[in-house]
Symmetry: C2
Subunit: 421 residues, 2 copies
């Protein structure tokens, strides 16, 4: 199945520029000779177009260290030709970053928050964080675009949140417009787990993989999906919402979605905190009872700490969470046949035993073929996956065939503002 | 995430030919004027390339009925420029067909078989069916390629079956080479459920959809997945294998895979037949007891017929199957967010109640967002989906950017034999 490609911009000169820029940017050609080989264009056309890209500041030419003979000149994409601003807005925290136009994170900043405060308050905080970031880290080159992650489903085409369960007030809010109007550049908005998957694709354990799942086990549980090398967002942008899959062997726990035995309601951080309180009240865990008496509350983190110190009931609670996450992922491994399942989020970092249980259940419950080369690993990027992925998303979009042709001849991505994004 | 595209063949003339042929073939341009608009090429280049394609017999020019003024000339892709041979090899039947190079099925033929007879016997039968087809339906134009579906996982890149559970003797068998060497044309081989999904995409209820799942509930249970408009085959080619997902509320039924409570082991046609025998033995269903006494066996079809005639125990058996299929699909709807779930296969055609139950369970157990616009429908193509999809697969591959550029200048897809496929 192939969807016909648009060729929206005419002009062979532009085609050549686009092709050359992409080959150099992706590191697939480093010299005029390689460009001639890869594009099939003549030497004179390649020379002319490369000179144009050098003059516009998109490419830079360096002399590579030589082992003898004439030192070869190397063409490179200019990382500081522009910069990007990205934000990963989570349920309880905001991470923002400044990236160069190769997607490298130059500076990063974050603070705690509550997404339920609503879009006006949260987005104003993001604006202030962006200002601080730019004040502390002055950049050359202009702003090329913004990338934003939100902790709920997003209609990718419009950049608006849809039916966000933990985000009252956000439904349909014009998040894209908020940033686009302020900065007059194109803006892309996506679900936080999708951008974390992109981050893992770019710099993490799933680097360059074409079929994998990123799973976040935090307060809630969600996943980001890469299929055939592309983010799979689904028909309404809600793909990856595994927190409400019914678990095998549930005991009727009510979920905030109104159904029972949802994975999130029995295995997520909020469920672990709830069950931790119960363990404390019933006197099953002395340690948790002490915390409850002292602070009036027990968090998932408290349960994880108790488990680390050898508290039996806390250990069993986490083991049940890992087992149910593993069972759900076992089914998804059969369905999706990923090469990697990368697991992140606060609960997933409970300890080695948590990952070991997930792995064991997946290997026990999936088909031999689905697990033959499957790797189940803890994310090494942690929270950074979000901002790395958001920068990657902006570059993917800016340099997509259609978009690149639309702005390159005007020399700046800002030309897309109000047109493309 | 985007994987850089190869531009393997140089030459702007070839590029223009490829672009023009694709635009006309996909019905996106019908005249030289439209081609000029869409490609950005000059009138003289377009005229020259179109003339070449007319001379080579790929395009044909017709005069469209006019409503006045000069009748416009219409460019069309020549459907009889060549032909395709396709086969959908199932567990118990072989369907073969002859298609034109727009993918339209010209003639079709089938017979019962048992895939467990092994590759030599089965492929020889396919060869004979192809011969009969060509003898009864003489075609103009040469053979462009073959498409084959197999009832198990296939490594798409090599066209070899991998770990096929119901296909002893097929593991690693060179199915592609068998046909390619015989006909000296390129051959593509895929899982039968994947090609059925392609068939539904081309001519069925999921026509043109970018994210959907095709589910076959027959003797076994499997699915074909389309993500972002592309077949999702997964890391090892086993994606869609939903028959071995553990069901909620299983009672410990042993599956042929060695695990318990697999969907297929409790809800597939073989399971229904097994449970039908039990109903007959226990005297719970008089009707099934009579069939067992007469024939010594009860098939899934017998259970379906008994249910249709109002037999209570048979009805409950099918209702349980539909409920468990629905529960599994509910979880997958959350994960994948498809626009359509198309259901086919012998058991799925048990009757309206079967589909109604599946639907009801999916809507009850998936998130509101995942089901907001989800359509759950019975396939109207039935078995034909296989051969239609196989023809579609061959054309997708022949006209993919890389492949098309490799054979178009030699004028015939057979040039790919031994190179590409």
């Amino acid at each position: 199945v192939r969807v016909p490609k648009q060729r929206p911009v005419p002009g062979e000169a532009l085609d050549a520029i686009v092709a050359i820029l992409e080959l150099v940017r992706r590191g697939r050609a480093h010299s005029r000779t390689e460009l001639i080989e890869r594009t099939g264009l003549s030497r004179s056309v390649v020379t002319q177009r490369v000179n144009e890209l050098l003059a516009r500041g998109f490419l830079v030419e360096s002399v590579a260290p030589s082992t003898g003979g004439r030192p070869p000149r190397q063409l490179e994409f200019r990382a500081d030709a522009g910069h990007l601003l990205v934000a990963d807005i989570g349920a309880t925290s905001i991470d923002v970053a400044l990236a160069d136009v190769t997607g490298r994170i130059l500076a990063r900043m974050g603070e705690g928050t509550d997404v339920a405060d609503g879009p006006e308050i949260i987005l104003a905080r993001v604006d202030r964080l962006f200002e601080r970031l730019l004040a502390e880290y002055p950049v050359r080159g202009e702003l090329w675009g913004l990338g934003i992650g939100l902790p709920g489903p997003v209609e990718f085409a419009t950049g608006h949140p849809i039916s966000p369960p933990i985000m009252p007030g956000w439904e349909g809010y014009p998040v894209r417009e908020h940033f686009a109007d302020r900065h007059q550049v194109p803006v892309w908005v996506d679900n936080d787990v999708n951008i974390m998957a992109l981050g893992e694709w770019r710099d993490g354990l799933a680097h360059g993989q074409r079929n994998f799942i990123y799973v976040k086990v935090g307060t809630g549980i969600g996943s980001g999906i890469v299929s055939n090398g592309l983010i799979h967002r689904g028909a309404q942008g809600s793909a990856g919402d595994i927190g409400h899959i019914q678990v095998v062997g549930g005991t009727g726990e009510l979920c905030r979605c109104g159904k029972v035995d949802c994975l999130e309601a029995v295995a997520g951080g909020a469920a672990i905190a709830r069950d931790g309180v119960a363990l404390a009240r019933q006197g099953q865990s002395e340690r948790l009872a002490r915390i409850l008496a002292e602070r009036g509350a027990v968090s998932a983190r408290d349960v994880i700490r108790a488990a680390r110190s050898g508290d039996g009931p806390a250990l069993r609670l986490l083991d049940r969470s890992a087992t149910l996450v593993g069972q759900t992922l076992a089914g998804l491994a059969n369905f999706f046949n990923p090469s990697h399942i990368i697991i992140g989020g606060g609960v997933a970092n409970a300890g080695d035993a948590y990952l070991a249980t997930i792995r064991q259940v997946i290997y026990a419950r999936s088909t031999a073929l689905a697990t033959r080369e499957l790797l189940v690993q803890l994310s090494r990027l942690g929270n950074r996956a979000g901002v790395i992925g958001a920068a990657s998303m902006v570059l993917d979009e800016l340099f997509s065939e259609g978009q690149l042709a639309r702005w390159i001849d005007q020399g700046r991505p800002a030309a897309l503002y109000g047109v493309a994004a």
